[in-house]
Structures are given as C-alpha cells and as structure tokens.
Assembly symmetry: C2
Homo-oligomer: 353 residues x 2
C-alpha cells in the first residue's frame, strides 16, 4: 500500500504509480473527459511512454509539449497552450495531467486554473524539486521578466502522485535542485529532518525522506494556505534566493532554482547571525554543509543594486519594506523580519564575494 498524505481537498500519494489510485481516479471521474498531458522535452522522452503504455485510459490523451526550462515559464507559452486547448475544444469537465518538474507543475497548474476559470488538473512530479516543493501546496504561476512567480493563483490539483522511480531519469544537478528545499524544510521546522538529510547527503535521497519533507510542507500549508502568517516561513532562503535566481536569469550564466535557494539559505542564515538571532557557530556549520553540496558563486559589487531592486519586488514585502525569514535555531525561524540595504550589502559581500 502506498503512503498517503491528506492535503486540503486532495491527496498526495507516495510510491509506484502502478500501485496507486491513479487509474481509479481516471476511470471514476474522467471516463468521458478529454485528457491533456503536459510534458517538457525530458518527460516527453523519458516518462510519457510509461504512462501511455500502462494506462489504456490515456490512449487518446492529447500530449502538449512545453519548452524546457525556467526561462520558458512565461505567459507566451501559456497563451499558446490556451489556444491549443480552445482549438481542441477542451471543456470544464476535462482534465490536464502535469507530467514534469517544477516548471511543468507550476505553469500547468496555472494554465488549468485560468482556462475557463478553472478545470481539473493532476500533478505527477518527475523532479525532486517538484516532488518536495513545487507541486505541493497550491501555488501555481509563471514569471514576469526577472520577477519569479509574479503572476499566478492559489489552486489545488485533484491529486498528486509521487513515484520516486522518475528520479532515475534525472541528472545530478536536478537532484541538487530539490535537495535545497528539503534542507530548508529541516532548517525552518524540524532539526531531526535536517540531520537525517545532512548525514545521508543528496545522493542517497529516498522516498521516506521525500515523504517527511512533503509532510513538513503540507503541515505549514494546511495551517495557512494563503500565506498570511505561518506559510511565510517557507520563504526562508527565497528573499535572497529569488533575487539571485532572477538576476542570473537575465545573464548567460543560468542558475537552477535549488542552487539559488541554497545560496539564499546561506545569505539569510548569515543575516540571522548579523541580526543577533543565532551564533556564528551555527552559521559556520550550515555554511560547511551547503558548501559541501553546492558550488558557491560570487556576485560583483557592481551588481548589488540589481539584486536589491529584485528583492524590493518580492511578493512578501509590505509598504516598501523588504521582509525576510530568519533562523533562530536549527528547526526554528521567524518571519516578517525587516531588513535594510546596508544589511543586504554586508551579507552579499561576506557570503558571496
């Protein structure tokens, strides 16, 4: 029996897709529906056949290919899909299956939620990042220029199926990409989870660790689905992380989301020290772990203004103040912490010089 986590009004199921309720769901709810499968180039090549050959219900499904990568998580691509859905006369009773990483689940969820004011979608995340983070919690959306996830809606899938066998299709940097969010879940909420992750390192990720990470995120989301309070904790590492990611999105040297978040975690941990929330020893310890798992990069002083400008656009901000999550110990944090320009510069020059 696969393990199941109950989210707000849907389930997250862990284990082989073939042992899951996926087929039941298709036959019970979508027998007379059109089914659209959204894939990217990778999942089109490595994951789609598995679905099509195992589920006769999907024999007539329409497959739509999204271009690969964060730089394509944009309105133009959504628009093309909406036109295709209209052409294909997809109705409110039909279903979209998002088969892919975070870009596919974020953008596919958004596409489904806006089309005819919302049609059903199911997430089958195939990357570690999508399994532990992107596909969970109802945040759908796309980027607007360098502003990450600037456009979107809160909208839940009908179900999520997490089958770790898809991870075998991934290159190493994709595992790293999800590992940063798992570390974050430990740092903000569960010291035990953090220690398990650190002791195993990212090459040994297993379904139990994924389950634990999703449980932590789900608990936070259930307590505060629309991010009024508690859910803000999940943004730890993301005030700096999103700005760094957005900055590199405009350059030749692209940075994976998880890599940027790992750097963001480091910056915001140092900030926590700077603002007297933790000892330098905790920062040094976390620095050692992050450094062993991720390449640290350096940001030139001349680029600080661009980074700060991106941080000012962060969705968490209020009244022009830049707000941030700070650690108070490993496994605990505080949100809505105001930070200023001087602190940001001090952090960047200390951590990413």
């Amino acid at each position: 029996m696969n393990k199941i986590i109950k989210a707000k009004d849907y389930s997250i199921e862990f284990g082989p897709l073939l042992d899951s309720n996926f087929q039941n769901l298709l036959t019970q709810n979508y027998l007379n529906s059109k089914i659209i499968i959204l894939v990217d180039e990778n999942t089109h090549e490595y994951c789609l056949e598995y679905l099509i050959t195992n589920y006769p219900e999907l024999a007539d499904a329409e497959v739509m290919l999204l271009p690969e990568g964060e730089e394509n998580k944009v309105m133009e691509v959504c628009f093309q899909v909406w036109e295709a859905l209209s052409e294909y006369k997809v109705s409110r009773k039909d279903l979209i299956i998002n088969l892919g990483g975070g870009v596919v689940t974020d953008m596919g969820g958004f596409i489904a939620s806006i089309y005819k004011r919302g049609i059903d979608f199911i997430n089958i995340p195939t990357s570690l990042l999508a399994m532990v983070d992107a596909s969970i919690g109802g945040k759908t959306g796309i980027d607007l220029g360098s502003y990450k996830n600037q456009l979107g809606v809160f909208s839940n899938p009908k179900a999520i199926f997490i089958d770790e066998s898809f991870l075998q299709t991934l290159p190493k940097e994709e595992i790293q990409n999800g590992f940063a969010e798992m570390l974050k879940h430990g740092l903000i909420k569960d010291k035990n989870h953090w220690e398990k992750l650190v002791s195993l390192s990212k090459d040994k990720i297993n379904l139990d660790l994924i389950y634990d990470s999703v449980s932590l995120k789900n608990e936070i989301v259930l307590a505060d689905p629309n991010e009024k309070n508690e859910r803000k904790k999940l943004n730890f590492g993301h005030t700096f992380g999103h700005a760094i990611e957005g900055f590199f999105l405009e350059t030749e040297q692209q940075l994976k989301h998880g890599h940027a978040v790992a750097l963001g975690i480091l910056c915001e941990t140092y900030l926590s020290y700077l603002k007297g929330k933790i000892d330098i020893a905790i920062y040094n310890y976390i620095h050692e772990i992050i450094e062993s798992e991720f390449n640290l990069i350096s940001i030139q002083e001349g680029d600080y203004d661009a980074i700060i400008s991106l941080m000012q656009q962060d969705k968490k901000n209020q009244e022009n103040k830049i707000l941030c999550v700070l650690l108070t110990e490993i496994g605990k944090c505080e949100f809505d912490q105001e930070i200023n320009r001087e602190e940001i510069i001090e952090v960047l020059s200390e951590v990413l010089s």
Copy 2:
C-alpha cells in the same frame, strides 16, 4: 443611508459615492497602500476627476488607462498592466480600483487576482451593464480570440459601489447594453421584475430597478458561486448570445454584449418553444418587447457553421454537448438542456433571418 446588499464576503452599496463607505474603506484598510485606479478612455474623461477631487486619499493614486472596448479585453493589455504594476513596485498589500464598465471590471478584477497571486480590488462600475451584471458575482476574465471570457478566475472584490449618477455619462446604446441583462434577470427568476422593466422601458432605469436586478443575481450567485448548478441559469441568452457576439468580434460590424444577449434571449426563447417548454404566445410577447428595445439583425446561412463552432466552445458545455438554459414560463427556467445542430439552425433561420 445607502442601501447595501451583502454578497459572499463583500458588500454592494447603492447610492451616491459621497454618502457611501468608500472613504472609510480607504482610510481603514489602505492608508499605507499604493492605490492604482484602472480607467478606460471614457471614465478617464468623465468619471476620474470626481474621484480624485473628492477623496484626498486618492491624491497620490497611480492612474492606468486601459484601451476602450471589448476587443481590448485581451491578455496583451493585461500583460502591459502587470509590467507597469511591477515597475511601480505594487505589493500584496496594495489596492486596485476598477472605475469603468464591464471591460474594466472584468479585466481589472482578473489583473488584480493574478498579480502576485491576488491583491485587493474594488469595483466602481460606471455602465449599466457593469452595475447590474459584470461587476457582481466574482467572475473575472478576458477573451481569447473570439472566445468570450475564456480565461479568468472566480475572485471577489473587497467592495462594489453603485452610483447611478455615472449613468448620465453614457450614450443610449450603453444603457441598452445593461438593460438586456436586467430583462434576463426577470425572465429567469422574477416575473414581477420583468413586468416593471417592460412597463418602464430602458430610458427610465432607476436605482431601485438596478438594486432589484443585483439582488436577483446575488441570490443566485450566493446559492452556487462556482456555477455548478443554479448559477447556470444566469447564462440564459448567452449560449447564442456569446457566439453571436464572438462572431461579430471578428467582423467590421461590432455588436455590444447586451445587444448580443438580447438576440440570444430571443433565440433561446424560441428554442424553449421549439422544445415544448413554452407556448408560442410567450415567445411572441417576448419577441415584441425585445424588438421594441433592440435592433434585430440577420445572420447569413453561410455563417451558421461559424456560430455553431463558437457555441461548441461555450464554457457551459459538457462532453461535447451544447447545453443551454430554457424558459419554462416568464420568471422560471431550466439549465443543462442539451441542444443539437438542427435545432440551432432552425432557431437562427427563424429568429435572425
């Protein structure tokens, strides 16, 4: 004291804006917020100054001008506004005021609901159509090609203020535009309302009639906000109406929404007769009223396929069936009524030849 209707989690207030809670709302909730006012060319010219001069809270508001007309209720315009909002560093705590007709309230609500996964908005409808229909009920959205409101979300404003003095700025065809929806409210739910409207005709619309129309719509929406059942009744006249409107959107001869809905009401009333739901006498009576208020237009036989194709894309459809609302008497109707190609052709050739 202005009359107030309680909607799901917001209020609809009727009467002079200066006597309303508008100012309270601004000072209590948005004192430190950026305020954006979305207008179109007409409300920019005729309505904006009234707001700016009467409310010091709006002195620093940013005014954004949307291009006029249904053909501009499109993603491209939204995209420009989102870029401007980002540039202006609008945050989740800020406010958008939609000052305009149905295009402004539909599109402005959509823009606000998608930006950073949703910021607050207030509707101040200035056209009769927006007062009695578009701004009420939480449907926001834009068109996709000829498909009306194909993209959107259900999302409620923080408040709606209906001040009939704005109607004085409108040309006659704009009053007609809203009158069709008021007639519809009577036909589907309240014979008394229909009779009052018919006895007064559209030149004598007053705030009490607007209030009654909004009450009828609000009751239906409260019973079924996401249009699973009862709310479908509000689509009476819109299966044919939207298709006719969409068809003319692609031609030189543009048709106002309300005009298209009036023609749709006529078509669907005839269909109700065809399918044995009402006597021909009721159709003849309604025909007489509609003909006295709206110009009937004719559609060429060669264009029937285009109309039917648009009807197949209607959001109300299920499993490739075209569904429709049919009258059973004046003040009563049935939804989810299946209709076929032959019936559509018979109706078009009888009613709009």
